[in-house]
Each structure stands twice: as structure tokens, then as C-alpha cells.
Amino acid sequence: MAAGWFGRRSKAKAMESVPEGIATKCGGCGEIVFAKDLDRNMQVCLKCGHHHRLSARARLAITVDEESFVEFDLDLAPGDPLTFPDYLAKQSAAEARSGLRDAMVTGVATIDGLPVSIGVADFAFMGGSMGSVVGEKVARAMERGVEKRLPVVIFSASGGARMQEGLVALMQMAKTSAAVARLQAAGLPFISVLTDPTTGGVFASYASLGDLILSEPGAIVGFAGRRVGNQDLGTHLPANFQTSEFQLEHGMVDRIVPRKDMRPTLAYLLSFLSPEETHGR
């Protein structure tokens, strides 16, 4: 349930051999690909189609209309409710790495002219884990939807609840889910987009409550970390266990949407879920 953000270390190591900023080793095909090519292609590998992780800012840039994004709740910063070992140092390191105060950016924007209350997680801040700030921003994004009569779109990328905030982090699952319930009771839609990875306490709370749930291809999506699953189950797991494709197969995801199609797909769905007539939008 809680985030351990496994796997980052090995990836970072693999990248060390390549001059930073010029080329990188693709996590999908293992080929060395030029950063310029990735930049031109929304960080999707031209050789194998692997979807590399995006920062929250980069995600917003390819998702919402230019200059339409207005950020809210910028002043929310993490506390340290348990005085957990090294948590404050981890926060500082994560802030330096991501340029963010915590793992979620929220605001209002338009997508193809349609206004939305939007939130985007950033895996670079402590594995996108959900503590008080992420939970609060998601809850406020839902409440903003109710107040302003806006549909809500959240892009998740998270290892789960943030261990360093203990039970306070676990409670964010209930808080965010309750806020989704209020949004939906108010007659407004929530579109949840699962990106790599969406696991643990985030997948087991608001992210699974979308009226529609989209996911990027090949994303790790599941309850426990894949590693935990492997330990528990031996080798009898399907090859696609805990991926977006597995979740689609089992009815938990509506569509797998390649990155280049995400924006038009969201625009299509938002216009469909709008209560007003949308002829000739």
C-alpha cells in the first residue's frame, strides 16, 4: 500500500553511462535514444513506443490549451506529522529534483476549449507518493469542480500512500475518495488517467473512482508493487500482471490511450460528459 518507489535506482544507474541531456537508454527497448527525439515525441520512444515518465509541467504542456492553466494551492507544503527519520531531508531533495513542493500540481485549464479542474502527479517528487499535500490538492480539485461546475481530470503517477506520513497518509485515501463521492453526487464527472506507475493507496482510492478511467500503454498499474506480488505468488503470474493492459483485460480501465491521443481523447470524453448540448463544439 505504501510507496517504496522501487526501481528508480537501477534506472538512474543505467543512465549514468550516457552523457546527460543528450541521449538516454530507453526503459522499453534498451536502445540508446537521443533526448531530442524523445522531446519531439512527447517522451515516447520512436523505436519501441515505450512511454517514458513525464514531469507534471511537461504533462500539462501537452494536455491543456496553451496558457490556459491557472495553478491553485501553490502554497501547500508538506509537514512532518510523525517526525519521521530523514523525511525533511527527503522533502528537500525531492524539491530540488522536481522543482515542486510536493508530488501534485493542480489548477484549472481548458482542453480543446473545454474548462476542467485538473491535477497532475509528478513521480519525481518522492515517487509521486500521496501524503497530506497530494491528498489535500486532489480533494480541493474535486471541490473546485463542484464550486465552479467543472469536470475533473487527474493524472496519477504514484507508488501509493507516503510511508513517511504514516496513518495521516493512509487517511488521504479516505479524504480523496469522499471528495470524489461529493463531486459525482453533484452531477459532475471525474476522468482518472493512470500513468506509470499507479499503485497502492492511490490506485486503491480516488484513482479507481473515475467515471472513466484511462491509462497509458505499458504503465504499471496495480494494488501491491509488482515485486511484492512476485514474492507472494512465485512464477505463476501472467506476463502483463499489474500493467494497464492487465487492468483493461479485467474491466478496471476503460481505454488504453497512447500519449499522442490523450488530449483528443479527453476532449471527446469531456464534451460527451458535459450536461449542455455540445453540437458544433
Binding site: A2, P81, M171, M173, S177, A178, F241, M252
Partner: protein, 335 residues
């Protein structure tokens, strides 16, 4: 396993062994022959034992509480149900595909008041443990609990949940059947369930599997129960790559009932009989029953809409934030 078998219970176990020996019938004759007042010796030892128990159980570390919460003789949900309620009629199945026995659900009466009850159920013996997946529910169990709760709500009956699980199941079938969706659905649905609700963490409150039954108007914890985002062993493995450092992790996670109360995340810590609920399940159940009756009376008297507003405000209040950076970027919020 003896009643006092943990390392921290050693002084107690020694006194108990001594007392047991002195109480043996042949000892009485022996003592009389030597002119020793056996009754006085026993009374003195009993006093020492009570003293030692108060000392030990009043100062358990978070890890020691974890061991108590997981004690194999600890009263489980069905024990609590049997001891607290006038009656109990179990209801089965999620109406989709299965009856997950890791969660029990049904109807009961508390001092004549009809209500619905749910809870994770660990097993006593190996066979029952396997049947109940050690109290680790899959989607089917959470959906059964919700079905019974929503049925009760349709007829205005309160819902009581007992939380006692190491966590939800994380195996292939759990994943295939949408355990995450089921947990999320319960969190959302219990937040708007239009009847009074109380959750009691009676043993292990393990992560998402626990909170899936833990959204309520009032949340109580037994004195030696724990509630945590992750098991201390898992936390230790992540932090120090060493599962053996679980005790340190338990400290860091502040997973005790007392900490949860200090953090404002629960409403009350229910005292256990001296030495833990497993030493006197009936006394533990009586304490829970008293608290349940009191809280249910309070919240049942509230206006329905006020109840739901309070429940939402309570959930919304959870979160601890850092200071705003001086001269920092103020929110663009114009609301």
C-alpha cells in the same frame, strides 16, 4: 504458546509460573509441614504480579503493541460480535461471484437496537485461517461488506465495523477481481452512507485493507491495537533493507492507538483488561460495548444531513502541512 510468551512478558511469565507452582495441591502440605503461610505467600506474589503487569502493559513499545495486536488468542471480529451483541445473523456473498470469508457481515442487535455489522475475520486454526485467507480480504469481501451496509442504510439501521487485518490480499485473484476498486468504492460509499457508523480497530489495522472498513462517524481503537499505512516489517525493508529492524520502524510509524488519538485521527482509545484483550475477551468486549452504545446514542441523535456534513469535515480535516515559505508564491486562488 503460553499466555505470557513474548520477550517483554518474561517477568510476568516468571511470576505466573511461580504462582502456578505454589497453587499446586501438594505444595500446601509441603508448606504446612514447614510452617509457611502459603496463602500469604500467594497473596504477596499476586500483588507483585499485578504490579509487574501494570508496569509492563502500561509501557508497551509500538513494536510490543504490534505483537499484542497480532496475538493468536486475541478476540477476533466474530468473538467481539458474539460477546457484544444480543444476537447475530450472518449474511453472505457479494452477488457477483463469491463469498469471501475473510470478511464477515450480518445483522445484529445491540441492547435491542438493530444494526448491521461487518469485520475482517482471521482464523483460529490453520484450516480456518486458510479458508479466511488470514483475514486478508479480496474485492469480494469488501463488496459484501458494502452490500450489507447499504442494505442496512436503506432501512435506517446503523453500521458497526470491526477492523482486524494485516492488509488486503495482494495476489493474482485479488488483482483480477479489482481489489483496489473495491477498497476505493468502500471509501467513497461509506463516506456518504446515510446512517450512523462506528468503526472499531480491535487488532491489526493494516493499510488499505483496514481503512476499507474504517470510514465512519466515530473511529475507536482498542488500547493495544495498531493502525498503520504499512506493516513495520515492510517499512523496515524499504528504509533500512532489513526486515529485522521492524521495532525501529514501528516506532517511526507511530502506529499505536495512543498516537492515532494524539494525531486526531481517531476518537477514543478503549481500555483493555490488564494484560491485553486475549486474557479476558469478555471484559474487552464489555468495554467495546460500552463505548459503542455511548457513541451510537450520540450520533443517532444527530440530524442525518448534519451527520454526513460532520463525517465529510472530519475526513477533510486529515492532513498536516508545512509552513508557507515567506514571500513565497501566494496561491492564485481568488475564491
Amino acid at each position: 504458546m503460553a499466555v505470557s510468551a513474548f520477550e517483554f512478558e518474561k517477568p510476568i511469565a516468571e511470576l505466573e509460573e511461580l504462582l502456578g507452582a505454589l497453587r499446586a495441591p501438594e505444595k500446601r502440605a509441603e508448606a504446612e509441614a514447614q510452617g509457611i503461610d502459603l496463602d500469604e505467600a500467594i497473596a504477596t506474589l499476586e500483588g507483585q504480579l499485578r504490579q509487574a503487569m501494570r508496569q509492563v502493559y502500561g509501557h508497551l513499545t509500538p513494536w510490543e503493541k504490534t505483537l499484542m495486536a497480532r496475538h493468536k488468542d486475541r478476540p477476533y471480529s466474530l468473538d467481539m460480535i458474539r460477546l457484544i451483541f444480543d444476537d447475530y445473523m450472518e449474511i453472505s456473498g457479494d452477488r457477483l461471484c463469491a463469498n469471501d470469508e475473510a470478511i464477515v457481515a450480518g445483522f445484529a442487535h445491540l441492547a435491542g437496537m438493530p444494526l448491521a455489522v461487518t469485520g475482517q475475520q482471521k482464523g483460529r486454526d490453520l484450516k480456518e485461517r486458510q479458508r479466511r485467507n488470514f483475514g486478508s480480504a479480496r474485492a469480494e469481501g469488501f463488496r459484501k461488506a458494502l452490500r450489507v451496509a447499504q442494505l442496512a442504510a436503506r432501512f435506517g439501521k446503523p453500521v458497526v465495523s470491526f477492523v482486524d487485518t494485516a492488509g488486503a490480499a495482494a495476489d493474482l485473484r485479488a488483482e483480477q477481481h479489482g481489489v483496489s476498486e473495491a477498497i476505493a468504492r468502500n471509501l467513497a460509499a461509506f463516506s456518504v452512507l446515510p446512517v450512523p457508523t462506528v468503526a472499531v480497530v480491535i487488532g491489526e489495522g493494516g493499510s488499505g485493507g483496514a481503512i476499507a472498513l474504517g470510514v465512519a462517524d466515530r473511529v475507536l481503537m482498542l488500547e493495544h491495537a495498531i493502525y498503520s499505512v504499512i506493516a513495520p516489517e515492510g517499512c523496515a525493508a524499504i528504509l533500512w533493507h532489513d526486515k529485522a529492524k521492524a521495532a525501529e520502524a514501528a516506532d517511526a510509524l507511530r502506529l499505536t492507538a495512543q498516537s492515532a488519538l494524539d494525531l486526531g485521527l481517531i476518537d477514543e482509545v478503549v481500555c483493555e483488561p490488564l494484560g491485553g484483550a486475549h486474557r479476558d475477551p469478555a471484559a474487552a468486549a464489555a468495554a467495546v460495548r460500552e463505548a459503542l452504545e455511548r457513541h451510537l446514542a450520540e450520533i443517532s441523535a444527530m440530524d442525518r444531513q448534519e451527520l454526513l456534513d460532520r463525517r465529510y469535515r472530519r475526513l477533510r480535516s486529515f492532513g498536516v502541512f508545512g509552513a508557507v515559505a515567506p514571500g513565497g508564491d501566494a496561491s492564485a486562488e481568488g475564491e
